[in-house]
């Protein structure tokens, strides 16, 4: 008699019975079943790091909140994705993000196309109750095509991952610890003098206006990260 564990898991998400493949994350299964969980650092086509904590969910029997993007489904799980407690936490996370650096939507290239801004609206963020830190962060405009404005960076590390995992260049990385972290190119060289391949993938995946194309100005800068799953698919096919 076979002792092999079943490949199919059944679980409950928001009182809806769903089935999943073993190894799938809660986020994947939720998306397949059209249950929306807010995300920010997650992007289809990149590995997940659970950095932003917006996709936190409640699991019955577990007092901790777990990030849906990196939590693998288990048989019989009962997941709640949108409780009042979770909404409160998500709003607080967004408030912390807005207070941490200088997010001035009205003059940002991504105004109207920004994932952080959209999430703030979707999650009903009306005020930031924390004092703004207003740090003095630099802008690196040394690259011939792109600019990085650290004031608008939320340290989601999508740029780091897309550069390493998809482009294979690993120009971007994170320097420093905690609140002093910043994304850097190479070993903290100017972007224009780095080993950047000028592919622009980091700009397309950046959820805010931190990375932007120099030729795009005003609210003229929608981003198109949808190329990633397609690129992955094509590579697997080879």
């Amino acid at each position: 008699m076979s002792q092999v564990e079943s490949d199919v898991k059944t679980l409950v998400i928001d009182e809806q019975e769903v089935s999943a493949q073993a190894g799938q994350t809660i986020l994947e299964v939720a998306l397949e079943n059209e249950i929306k969980i807010p995300t920010l650092c997650h992007l289809e086509g990149l590995s997940d790091v659970g950095a932003c904590r917006l996709c936190l969910v409640e699991i019955k029997g577990n007092s901790k909140l777990l990030p849906a993007c990196v939590t693998v489904v288990q048989e019989g799980m009962e997941v709640s994705t949108n409780s009042e407690r979770l909404q409160k936490h998500r709003r607080t996370i967004l408030e912390l993000l807005f207070a941490e650096r200088n997010h001035i939507c009205s003059v940002c290239v991504s105004n109207g196309h920004c994932e952080l801004q959209t999430l703030g609206q979707e999650q009903g963020l009306t005020h930031v109750r924390l004092p703004y830190r207003n740090p003095e962060l630099g802008v690196d405009a040394s690259h011939e095509r792109f600019t990085v404005d650290h004031n608008r960076c939320i340290l989601c590390t999508r740029c780091v991952r897309v550069c390493a995992e998809i482009e294979g260049a690993h120009v971007w990385d994170v320097m420093g610890r905690g609140i002093n972290s910043v994304v850097i190119t190479d070993l903290h060289e100017e972007w224009g003098k780095s080993t950047c391949t000028r592919c622009g993938k980091c700009v397309q995946v950046c959820p805010t206006g931190a990375l932007f194309d120099k030729s795009k100005i005003g609210s003229d800068h929608p981003k198109y990260p949808d190329f990633l799953p397609y690129l992955n698919l094509m590579r697997e096919a080879q």
Partner: protein, 474 residues
């Protein structure tokens, strides 16, 4: 016992300001000042930003004339890029600037000034506002709303937003004009003509009743500055600056944006956050000058559109020589509105306005650039310096209100001296002093964009009006 009369805030202006009038022991006016009491800081916090962000950043200085800032800023950026923008883009911007001029003049004339003009300087302050005008003269109230809508709708059709459109960018504009939008604008033009004709007619009827005000509302000889075309016709977006003296003789002509800072300086007075611009060779305050509608119509020889041409000829008959009273700013504004509508119609008649090539691109080709345009209330100058990567290292803005500042202060003094006698004044008299400032339609939000420690004066006035203490920081 001396006394200080303070009018704070001055109402029906764009921004925050106050007026103080100092009386001697005999009750005679000794001095009068118009103070701009707010500070903004745009020049400082734009440092470190990429230069191509400047138009959208600078537009936020003002919600009434963001288009002027967009255009002056974009032109300064284009000087840094060393590009000439496509013809279609230049014409589209010209139209945007004229649309803004029409709506801003409509705001100034109907919403801010017409309560004084139509209801009277002595009218009950409770009804001396646009709603009072709408109740007393509904057709003029509607004309004012209509003209503002005309300008704002064009701005929205071109730039997607009525206030702070992001459509003007260094190198041109982001989107060409569609035939459907062009037709929508053309359809609004007949109503706009009717509205401005109504306003001109009404103004000419009542202007005669303000003879006394005309004589003392900043009515004195000054120099004047404005943009002008090579054919000496009026210009709001391109052209070069001409400075004339009080007789209309040219002091200096062909002042380009790049030359502006060589010709013009900015002085600081301890009582205002707004600087005082002057022509350097004449020094301060002798080199002070006026800008805006009055200056433009005094300087130009032609409007270049038939209806406005006839109105210009009539305007120039208001006085022998140049028209000196700032009261006539109101009249000049109406003439310019008519010109704006005619010029927009003319621009739209050219099929090239639908051209698809509306943007030039380039990187940093110069480390310094300046741009200028005529804002509704006068000449606007933006001047930037950048590093090799195009990040702003220094910015300076010279705003219309700063250029009119000396004349506004002298005008307030002139009116106060005329009306305040033996220390006696009424609400209506103080309203006249405020109305002097209103003729200039100053934008205090624009004018106080500078940063750093500014001179400040605090007067401590006791209940009986005595100045007990005075602290000056300079």
């Amino acid at each position: 016992m001396s006394q200080t009369i303070t009018i704070d805030p001055v109402t029906r202006l764009e921004g925050h300001g106050k007026i103080t009038i100092q009386l001697s022991a005999q009750g005679e006016v000794e001095a009068a000042h118009f103070h701009v009491t707010q500070v903004r800081g745009f020049e400082r916090f734009s440092e470190g930003r990429p230069f191509y962000e400047m138009p959208s950043l600078m537009a936020r200085i003002c919600g009434i004339c963001p288009v002027s800032h967009l255009i002056a800023s974009a032109k300064a950026c284009e000087a840094i890029m060393s590009v000439r923008i496509p013809h279609t883009a230049a014409q589209l911007r010209r139209m945007l600037n004229l649309a803004q001029m029409v709506q801003s003049h409509a705001l100034s004339f109907f919403y801010l000034a017409s309560p004084d003009l139509l209801l009277g300087m002595e009218a009950d302050p409770n009804v001396r506002n646009i709603l009072g005008v709408a109740a007393a003269k509904p057709e003029l109230g509607r004309a004012g709303v209509g003209l503002r809508r005309f300008g704002q709708t064009i701005i929205e059709l071109l730039g997607d937003k009525r206030v702070h459109p992001g459509w003007v960018v260094p190198g041109g504009v982001t989107e060409p004009l569609s035939p459907a939008k062009r037709d929508k604008i053309l359809a609004m033009i007949p109503e706009a003509y009717a509205n401005v004709a109504l306003a001109l007619g009404a103004y000419k009827q009542i202007a005669g009743a303000f003879k006394e005000e005309i004589e003392v509302f900043a009515s004195f000889p000054t120099n004047y500055l404005s943009l002008i075309n090579e054919d000496e016709s009026i210009e709001f977006t391109d052209g070069t600056l001409r400075l004339v003296d009080s007789t209309g003789s040219i002091i200096e002509d062909g002042i380009t944006a790049a030359r502006f800072s060589e010709a013009m300086g900015e002085a600081v007075e301890p009582y205002s956050y707004t600087k005082f611009a002057y022509y350097k060779p004449l020094g301060y305050p002798a080199g002070s000058y006026r800008v805006g509608p009055l200056a433009r119509l005094n300087i130009v020889k032609a409007m270049g559109t038939p209806r406005a041409e006839a109105e210009l000829a009539e305007f120039k008959q208001l006085a022998p020589g140049l028209v000196e009273s700032s009261f006539h700013y109101h009249h000049a504004r109406l003439v310019e509105m008519l010109y704006g509508i005619e010029k927009i119609e003319e621009i739209l008649a050219d099929p090239r306005i639908l051209g698809k090539h509306v943007r030039a691109t380039a990187g940093v080709n110069r480390l310094e650039g300046a741009g200028q345009a005529e804002a509704p209330r006068g000449t606007l100058h933006h001047h930037y310096k950048v590093d090799d990567n195009g990040k702003i290292t220094w910015a300076n803005l010279v705003i219309a209100t700063g250029q009119n500042n000396n004349a506004m202060n002298l005008g307030v003094l002139q009116a106060a001296r005329h009306y305040v006698k033996n220390g006696k004044f009424t609400e209506g008299i103080l309203n006249r002093v405020e109305a002097v400032v209103r003729t200039f339609d100053p934008c205090l939000s624009c004018s106080s964009h500078a940063a750093g420690q500014m001179p400040l004066e605090i007067s401590l006035v006791s209940a009986d009006g005595e100045v007990v203490d005075r602290v000056v920081r300079d």
